[in-house]
């Protein structure tokens, strides 16, 4: 490998990127837009679920049930109904995800039989939200009955009932259980995978389409020189993008960052090499720019969102799908980023994913170099 040739190619590539407004846009705007879109758009926390209430009794007791729901952060009472038709309309129209109905004999049952019930009607088109909302509703009602019990024993002058065992829990790494803290590393991994593969996906196919490749292959430049010279400029651009994304994640979206910058830098470089190599491989295999760019998008976007562990936890996938996730480089990088961000892991803690990522980089690099043939037709 001659450094001079690598440099000549890298220099040419930089000039071309700087002169092409479209590629400059991909380089700078795409990551910004995706960070904004995903950072604001993806929110797995369920809060302020809109609900309606139908109080069939209108007593003091039934009102305090309503107040308990109103006081909860998880619910927001948006409508109050007078009959079941109103409840049906509100849920059909999608104004409310849940309806809370207090029966007409609520306080009477509470006083006499010790078992009064509150009805919850749920819109389960989004089963996840419905499940979570139901869980919250149970805990709201549970807290309410606890209070009723306490008041009752106190009014009888008895000791409050003894709770036999209490679970004391402490949440580590993401103390506030805010999903954004967990999402931001995933967003960074996703954006880098998308942008990285896009950056290099055009680099070879463009030359084939414009006819410049025919002469380039007639020169003594080797496959390794071409690949190195072509990927190098995009590596620096990719690192710039990565820094941009990470800075936005930490300072704008306030994702907690507990690791070392050097760990982040090293692992990010490795991941970038993988995705840039992937884009180059696609570009060298497909001689059309549009085709290469779209394939790069599909190959990075779908697996990274679905199989990296970002949207769905890997250990809950069926074994066959779990096996597939090993082929997704973002899986390793996402795991690394999560650890570095939330746990403050150092390089030593990340040996396994780093080794896998490095293996991946080597294989992709070899494939990419081989994919480019210095012959026509």
């Amino acid at each position: 490998m001659t450094l001079r040739r690598v440099r000549a190619i890298a220099k040419k590539e930089i000039i071309q990127v700087l002169r092409d407004p479209r590629s400059l846009m991909v380089v700078l705007l795409m990551p910004l837009m995706q960070m904004a879109l995903l950072g604001y758009g993806v929110n797995l926390d369920i809060k302020h679920v809109p609900i309606c209430v139908f109080d069939r009794e209108g007593s003091q007791q039934s009102q305090s049930v309503m107040k308990a729901f109103q006081a909860s952060l998880y619910f927001q009472i948006v409508e109050s109904e007078r009959d079941y038709d109103g409840v049906k309309r509100a849920i059909d129209a999608g104004h409310c995800k849940m309806a809370v109905v207090v029966p007409p004999d609520f306080s009477q049952n509470l006083a006499s039989t010790n078992s009064a019930s509150v009805q919850a009607i749920l819109d389960a088109t989004d089963d996840n939200t419905a499940n979570v909302a139901l869980g919250y509703a149970r805990s709201v009602v549970g807290a309410f009955s606890g209070n009723v019990q306490l008041q009752r024993t106190q009014s009888l002058g008895q000791q409050p009932p003894v709770t036999p065992a209490v679970a004391q829990y402490r949440v580590w790494y993401n103390e506030d259980l805010i999903s954004r803290n967990f999402i931001m590393p995933g967003v960074v991994a996703l954006v880098l995978a998308l942008v990285g593969a896009q950056l290099t996906s055009l680099t070879i196919s463009r030359e084939w389409e414009r006819g410049t490749m025919e002469v380039l292959v007639s020169t003594p430049v080797t496959r390794m020189e071409l690949m190195t010279g072509k990927i190098l400029p995009y590596f620096f651009i990719g690192m710039l993008d990565a820094s941009l994304c990470l800075v936005i994640a930490v300072f704008w979206f306030e994702a907690p960052f507990r690791g070392a910058v050097t760990t982040l830098f090293l692992t990010t470089s490795l991941f970038l090499i993988v995705v840039l190599g992937l884009g180059y491989f696609i570009s060298a295999s497909i001689r059309s720019q549009v085709g290469a760019s779209q394939i790069a998008l599909v190959v990075t976007m779908l697996p990274t969102t679905l199989l990296s562990g970002f949207a769905f936890p890997i250990d809950q996938m069926p074994p066959a799908i779990q096996a597939l996730t090993y082929l997704v480089p973002a899986r390793y990088y996402f795991a690394i980023l999560k650890s570095v961000f939330l746990k403050g892991s150092a390089l030593g803690d990340l040996v396994a994913p780093i080794a896998l990522l490095a293996t991946y980089a080597t294989i992709v690099g070899l494939l990419a170099a081989r994919a480019f043939r210095k012959t026509l037709g």
Binding site: Q16, T219, P220
Partner: protein, 320 residues
């Protein structure tokens, strides 16, 4: 340049064959080319000229046969061959979004030209293209003739011993073509072996030797003079008249006229003896009541050679 046959051999093509599926693009093509020689590939579209050049550059692998360029087996040492060749493809292949200087620097770089030599070669190429003072112009803004000369300049940044030019002059105005040929002569004068494909008969006349290619086969190889002497047995009569179509039809039945072919608005007739056969031709035209303005013997052109060897359709295709 006429002593080209004395120069050392730079290219050896030995029974080259290239098949694409059932289609035989190049069929048993063999030839040699020497230092300082300009060898022209002449033939209709799809004859296999470009394919042959691409094989010699190592861009295509031949189905069979052997190519040696600069004394090296192209199949075995493609990279070392590439250090010794310059190539201009049919399609313009410099970077439109780079300036003149940036393009030349790039090609100098990938050819491994450095330091003092690089700046010398850069000046040479800029000079050659006639682009002095416009080094920072974007190539996209240059017109055809300049682009073409710049592409030639880029192809010789590393002073290659062999230059392959694939239809370099297509789509360029006549003045630019003339200037381009001056450059090629100058390079050949310095010892560069030039292989050039062309459609233009007049350009073929500028070559030391012509390789006539048709249907993938090399059907004749020699200097323009040799080809005219060997391919045409007999003499050529030029006939001009008001109705060339009718004249053509009338003369096709005349035994003395071995071959009749239209050339623009006139006709070329191949006869054994011009002085003797004029009478028979005039007699037939009178018999048909056709008038003519001119019947005279002329020197055969390459086009006549082409008509003889390839047949009318191929020749017209090549001559456009």
């Amino acid at each position: 340049m006429n002593d080209a046959s004395a120069g050392e051999i730079r290219i050896v093509a030995d029974r080259l064959v290239k098949r694409f599926g059932d289609f035989v693009a190049v069929n048993e093509v063999s030839f040699e080319a020497r230092r300082g020689e300009i060898i022209g590939f002449l033939g209709p579209n799809g004859a296999g000229k470009s394919t042959t050049i691409r094989i010699l550059c190592g861009l295509l692998r031949p189905t069979s046969g052997k190519a040696e360029v600069a004394g090296l087996d192209v199949a075995r040492y493609p990279e070392r061959v590439r250090e010794n060749i310059g190539y201009m493809s049919q399609k313009f292949s410099l970077y439109n979004d780079l300036s003149v200087r940036e393009n030349l620097r790039f090609f100098g770089g990938v050819y491994g030209v450095k330091g003092e030599r690089l700046s010398k070669r850069l000046d040479f190429a800029v000079d050659m293209a006639g682009l002095k003072g416009r080094e920072d112009a974007l190539v996209a803004d240059l017109s055809g003739g300049w682009k073409q000369r710049l592409a030639l300049g880029a192809a010789v940044m590393h002073e290659p011993a062999i230059l392959f030019l694939d239809e370099p002059t297509s789509g360029v105005d006549p003045e630019s073509r003339r200037r381009f040929w001056h450059l090629i002569y100058a390079l050949a004068g310095e010892g560069v072996c030039v292989v050039i494909t062309t459609h233009y008969m007049d350009e073929a006349e500028y070559c030391n030797r012509i390789a006539l290619i048709n249907g993938g086969r090399l059907i004749a190889l020699g200097s323009p003079g040799e080809l005219k002497r060997s391919a045409i047995r007999g003499e050529i009569l030029l006939v001009e008249g008001d109705d060339p179509g009718a004249i053509l039809e009338a003369l096709e039945g005349v035994p003395a006229a071995r071959d009749v072919a239209p050339f623009g608005s006139s006709l070329h007739i191949v006869v054994d003896d011009a002085a003797r056969d004029v009478a028979a031709i005039e007699a037939r035209l009178k018999e048909r009541g056709l008038s003519w303005s001119k019947i005279e013997p002329i020197k055969p052109t390459l086009e006549d050679v082409f008509v003889q060897l390839v047949g009318g359709d191929g020749a017209r295709g090549a001559a456009q």
